[in-house]
């Protein structure tokens, strides 16, 4: 997603992991852990004209 944001023309792309997020279902949590799935917060700006 970060690369796509930059390629769309957005700038100042920042991200941080959302602390404490977890999936409700245990099976989903296990799959998420295996694939390195995380919740993240992302911000970006459209440049001034």
């Amino acid at each position: 997603m970060f690369r796509l944001m930059e390629e769309s023309g957005l700038t100042k792309v920042r991200s941080a992991v959302v602390a404490g997020f977890e999936f409700r279902e245990a099976s989903t949590r296990n799959a998420a852990e295996a694939y390195g799935v995380k919740a993240v917060m992302m911000t970006a700006r459209k440049p001034e004209a």
Binding site: S27, V37, K38
Partner: protein, 151 residues
Amino acid sequence: MDRMPEGAVASFAGVGNPHPRAALQPGETVLDLGSGAGLDLLIAAERVGPGGRAIGVDTNPVMRARAAANAKAAGLEVELVDGAIEALPVPDGSVDAVISNGVINLSFRKRRVFEEIHRVLRPGGRLSITDIVSAKQLSQSIVNDPKLWAS
């Protein structure tokens, strides 16, 4: 949050809180991608105030109706629009801030979503989202498992 209707809170399916970094100001126009039952949209509406606009885009008419009912219960003005996040029904450069919470990951056309966000933001406008990302390519069995899409 205490002032938000129980229906909006109970149906919330976000993964974080995009509002602190969105830093919405009174009078601004904010667009919520995949507004669902409306919790983030209502919080945004409260922050932009009666002089601003809080627009929620969702393809699901049931969720749009729920969001409208929740807005009425909260006494807040919102605009609910039928539309896909890959083809936002909003004019170019008309939005101060875009927010979204746990929705963009569901799109198979993420590049198009970000192109649309860029199109609708005014110059200097900002994006604040929370979502889930994967460090590895998900297997097809995971991608095709409907239970994993909603848990």
